[in-house]
């Protein structure tokens, strides 16, 4: 589903001559990283600030381009396609859930959802209201973001991410700004999407949230430092997530930590 091959992302350094002997004019946000995410898999990405988590999600989400390497989404290498094609990929294949929600402040909840429909193809207000109802916001459809709580805004963001039936959901710290009650609601929704067979890539700082995924990777200095698969029986199989889901609760599964080498 998602194949990342030897991807490097360089950002221009704000100050040159750092004395490290590396290229002083740029910072390696991602350093020759390779990764495979199977269809229907839930991958969580952890790591300290500046380790490259958001950069990786932005590259998978076609919000940015790699400096080198290939990114294959659903059989298409998006690293070298035009901006217009990237727009189409974002509109049709990817649903974003942001930590800061990122709703358009002058549009109501339903209009924010309809906006995603509009950029995809055409709007259908009834469908958008139904999507909001599914995340428990049927009665808040015509409220502005400023009239909603953080949890409600995040659920609007989730409804917007799902409205075009995307194959990939990218969630960048989706519960980072939520209280415990709303965190539970959002995670329950993500679990439902996972059970429906969607591919989820989630950045989180919370190890408990990360354990909800099929697999967790940890980034350090733009490289995969380690990965953890939360069921021995699932390791190495593309249908890992589905198999575990069929077995029931993750609480009964075992986890194994696997040390990763750069470029592995």
């Amino acid at each position: 589903m998602i194949q990342i091959k030897d991807v490097t992302k360089l950002y221009p350094a704000k100050e040159s001559g750092n004395g490290t002997g590396k290229d002083a004019s740029s910072i390696h946000a991602l350093d020759h990283i390779s990764l495979h995410v199977a269809q229907g898999e839930w991958l969580s990405i952890m790591g300290p600030s500046g380790s490259g988590k958001s950069t990786l999600v932005n590259l998978i989400g076609c919000l940015d381009r790699p400096s080198s390497g290939e990114i294959w989404l659903d059989g298409q290498n998006v690293a070298g396609i035009s901006s217009a094609d990237l727009n189409r990929v974002r509109a049709e294949k990817i649903g974003f859930i942001f930590q800061q929600f990122h709703l358009i402040p002058f549009l109501t909840a339903v209009e924010n959802v309809m906006l995603a429909q509009y950029f995809h193809s055409m709007t259908d207000e009834k469908e958008a209201v139904e999507a909001l109802a599914r995340v428990g916001l049927g009665d808040r459809a015509h409220h502005l973001p400023s009239q909603m709580s953080g949890g409600e805004q995040q659920r609007v963001c989730i409804a917007r991410a799902l409205i075009n039936d995307p194959r990939i959901i990218l969630a960048d710290e989706p519960t980072g700004n939520l209280d415990a009650q709303n965190e539970e609601i959002v995670l329950r929704l993500l679990r439902e999407f996972h059970q429906q067979g969607r591919t989820i890539v989630m950045v989180t700082h919370d190890p408990v949230v990360a354990r909800l995924a099929d697999r967790r990777i940890e980034l350090h200095h733009g490289k995969v430092a380690s990965q953890e698969i939360f069921s021995l029986a699932d390791e190495g199989t593309l249908g890992a997530s589905r198999a575990r889901r069929d077995r029931g609760s993750r609480a009964h599964g075992s986890a194994r930590r696997v040390a990763r080498q750069p470029g592995d």
Partner: protein, 397 residues
């Protein structure tokens, strides 16, 4: 949510095709304008001011020529007809001039000769039509106009007093305390009663004006000069002169150059000033709009980044921003047009004592100009918009 399906995006689009649609584009425009009305109002204000000034200037620009020409006509003749070789003009000349003018001006005949006062001093006496002179030379400072004398009454000069308009410099030589006095010409005497004085600061101050009827009855001399104040553009004036030349062949038709050249100069300068002022104000407004739109883009970078992240194309976002700018320009133009009409009317009333006629033909020009200004002002913000990197903006940099 349904499970992800394998059907392409077109299937989803097809399933939505039967839904009732409202224009999302229009919704975004209206919502953005209503909920960000602070910014919208400041940009609208700048546009409305520019449109109002442009409307007022264009109205005045079109109307000022007619208004100023009317004003210039108050300052006397711009064409003069003189009998060839100092001869008198044919008696039907004035009728021909009136016929050529056809309401586009006024003409006054003048007969001039040198008479003698009772103490033998020479003095210039002019015979004219007081009603016409009054219209022709509104700028003359006259204490009281004499009544017009009919030709039949003038036949018997001794039966009545003959009212005259006395130049202020001539008055001491002919009459003390405005008493009646006699003038003689070739042995014939005319008993004249001062009716009022005239002061112009020019040769008129040394003359005595009597009615044309008295003048011809007394001297037997016909008018040798007709002064004409014709209205119209320089081309129209030239046409009138041409017609007069062809109609009255016994006369030399000459322009009064000082008046015509001065008129053209003032008109040219007035129009240039209006154009320059309008251009400066429009440029200033364009800068205001530009700075407002730049601020608008800066404020909304995050919104545009979100839209890009959701799959909006650069063209759509540019179109959305350009449409916002165009709506702003059109609304500002309509508001400004209405205000500008009012300003033009007020300026007309204050300066020309007549309202400037609202010219709705100016509206398309103001509308197109306002939209052009906003769209040109939007070019730079749109180029900034193109550079919005969603990844950078959304991570809060």
């Amino acid at each position: 949510m349904s499970a992800p399906n394998s059907n392409p995006a077109s299937n989803l689009a097809a399933s939505r095709a039967h839904a009732p649609h409202t224009s999302m584009f229009l919704r975004m425009l209206v919502r953005a304008a209503v909920l960000r009305r602070g910014r919208a109002v400041s940009a609208l204000f700048a546009m409305a001011v520019a449109a109002a000034v442009s409307t007022a200037m264009l109205n005045l620009y079109v109307d000022v020529q007619a208004k100023l020409r009317r004003e210039f006509r108050n300052y006397g003749a711009n064409i003069i007809l003189v009998g060839r070789d100092s001869a008198s003009l044919p008696s039907d000349s004035l009728a021909h001039v009136d016929s050529v003018l056809a309401g586009r001006g006024v003409a006054a005949p003048f007969g001039l000769l040198v008479a003698r006062t009772t103490d033998g001093q020479p003095i210039v006496v002019a015979g004219t039509d007081f009603d016409r002179v009054r219209q022709l030379n509104r700028w003359w400072s006259v204490s009281a106009w004499p009544p017009e004398i009919s030709a039949s009454r003038a036949q018997n000069p001794r039966e009545m007093e003959h009212p005259a308009l006395i130049g202020v410099r001539a008055l001491p030589a002919v009459s003390r305390k405005s008493q009646p006095f006699d003038l003689s010409f070739q042995g014939r005497t005319l008993h004249v009663t001062p009716a009022g004085t005239v002061q112009t600061g020019a040769a008129e101050d040394s003359r005595i004006y009597i009615s044309l009827a008295d003048f011809t009855a007394w001297t037997g001399v016909q008018p040798s000069t007709i002064e004409v104040a014709a209205s119209g553009s320089p081309e129209e004036i030239a046409g009138i002169m041409n017609q007069l030349t062809q109609t009255i062949t016994a006369a030399d038709v000459r322009p009064v150059r000082q008046i015509m050249e001065g008129e053209a100069r003032v008109l040219g300068k007035t129009r240039s000033t209006l154009l320059a002022a309008a251009t400066l104000i429009i440029l200033t407004a364009a800068l205001c709009v530009l700075s407002t739109l730049m601020g608008w883009v800066f404020d909304r970078r995050r919104d545009f980044a979100i839209m890009k992240a959701l799959g909006a194309s650069g063209r759509l976002l540019n179109g959305f921003f350009a449409a916002e700018a165009a709506v702003l320009g059109a609304t500002g133009a309509v508001i400004g047009f209405l205000v500008g009409i009012g300003i033009a009317a007020w300026i007309g009333r204050v300066n020309f004592h007549a309202a400037v006629v609202p010219r709705f033909s100016v509206l398309p020009i103001v509308l197109a100009g306002s939209m052009a200004v906003t769209l040109l002002s939007a070019i730079l913000p749109i180029s900034l918009l193109r550079r919005v990197q969603p990844a950078v903006i959304l991570r809060g940099e």
